[in-house]
């Protein structure tokens, strides 16, 4: 298993070096910057709408080390949100009209207070609880085997990555044996009713391209995944979300190391779709890191670009008015969310 960029002492573990790449060639005159595009559109600075989704990154620890991971997550990452900050998030959810909590990581289930948090979120009536599960965590250790039952009990919406319906491409991106374990986990979720016709238990899959190319048509890929997973493994699921790989962290490292960076950025710029700008997820989402700081999205979190609301950058100072008036911070990585049909944690946006 490979190690995180941080554990390897890779220069891209320092976000300053990532930003240096994103602000350098080909954006030093050859290609328009994302800011240029927004200015042309009359949408700079970009402003948020109502905050509807509270996306909490409960820790960077993960049982997998995926090659494209924008979090640089892995077993060697020890950053985990404390119970105190989880409680603070619950207080915010209770006091505001934010209807959706989106738990991500790392593997969010590895946070020791994960189940307690979900139980409490259910008690205070959060309308939708999303867990971004990597699937293999369910099969990683006996203590996680009953997660499908736990998810069912709390009507958790499960969103899981599966980049392909066969082992080769999946394991190439997510690690040896990940496909087999993911299939077992999906079958376990199906047994509980997840993703089954007529069931209210939602199971969505996320498709990320397994290389330096953009995702294809979401509905066509969904049909392909449904047909093959049913035929080969008798697996059912609800929706397939296609998500563009964002050129930061380990995916940026891959692009640079494979000499694909310039071509990939050009593809993103050529595929820029102004119609996707309106629906990008940073408009209605606040991303929280393990240490309680807030960001416009999970990608800005990884680039340490805290929300541009000086009086409300930490959950201890949460101020919905200040956050609503902020400007959304952008850089060239934002092209990833506006390419083609657009991309968000809920798939396409345009």
């Amino acid at each position: 298993m490979i190690k995180s960029l941080k554990a390897r002492g890779n220069q891209l573990a320092n976000v300053k070096n990532q930003l240096k790449i994103l602000n350098g060639s080909p954006f030093d005159g050859e290609l328009p910057t994302f800011r240029d595009q927004l200015t042309k559109l009359g949408d700079f600075p970009m402003k948020p709408t109502n905050i509807e989704i509270f996306q909490i990154n409960v820790g960077y620890m993960c049982n997998q080390v995926c090659k494209h991971c924008h979090v640089d997550a892995g077993p060697d990452r020890k950053e985990i949100m404390t119970k105190e900050y989880l409680q603070k998030c619950l207080d915010i959810l209770e006091q505001t009209k934010i209807h959706t909590v989106d738990l991500t990581g790392g593997a969010p289930e590895m946070n020791p207070n994960f189940r307690w948090f979900v139980e409490e979120a259910t008690k205070i009536g959060v309308k939708e609880i999303i867990v971004r599960s990597n699937l293999t965590i369910i099969r990683a250790n006996k203590k996680y085997y009953d997660l499908p039952q736990f998810f069912k009990k709390h009507n958790v919406h499960v969103v899981s990555s599966l980049p392909y319906y066969q082992a080769g491409k999946t394991d190439a991106q997510r690690g040896d044996g990940v496909f087999k374990s993911s299939i077992e986990a999906l079958q376990g979720l199906n047994e509980q009713g997840y993703g089954m016709p007529g069931s209210d238990l939602k199971l969505d899959l996320v498709y990320n391209p397994t290389g330096a190319f953009l995702p294809g048509n979401q509905s066509q890929l969904e049909m392909e995944f449904k047909r093959n997973l049913k035929k080969d493994f008798n697996i059912e699921f609800n929706n397939l979300f296609t998500i563009t790989n964002i050129p930061i962290s380990r995916y940026l490292d891959y692009l640079v190391a494979s000499d694909n960076y310039d071509d990939y950025m050009e593809k993103l710029v050529l595929a820029y779709n102004p119609a996707a700008v309106k629906g990008v997820m940073c408009r209605n989402t606040i991303s929280v890191d393990w240490d309680g700081y807030m960001y416009d999205c999970d990608f800005n979190q990884m680039l340490d670009m805290k929300v541009a609301a000086p009086s409300s950058q930490h959950i201890n100072d949460f101020d919905i008015d200040a956050l609503s008036k902020r400007s959304i911070l952008i850089n060239q990585h934002c092209y990833g969310c506006t390419a083609g049909a657009g991309s968000s944690c809920q798939g396409t946006v345009a």
């Binding site: 066969q166 491409k169 190319f213 294809g216 048509n217 066509q220 890929l221 392909e224």
Partner: protein, 111 residues
Amino acid sequence: MDKSYYDPKDLKKFGQIAEFEPKLAEKFFDWYGAVFEEGALTQREKSLIALAVSHAVQCPYCIDAYTEDAMQKGANEAMMMEAVHVASAIRGGASMVHGVQMMNKAKKLSM
């Protein structure tokens, strides 16, 4: 002439063929776009056909373009290589089937 007949950067300049003859180029690109839309065949099937034909006509620009296009549309390595085999089989078969013509002629000339 440059040092090489083919430059990968020229693929991105495909649209510039309109510079010398805009009206026909417009018709060509409209038709080209329509050809690859979803129809009786899926877009991925069309992409794999395009990839196979790219090999038959030995167009390096087309091979680059339709390898990526097919991957984007969810094709895997096995599908793409099978498409190349189809192109190769037709190319090879086209030569072999002329063997019948050779045989016909040889038999006619022989005692």
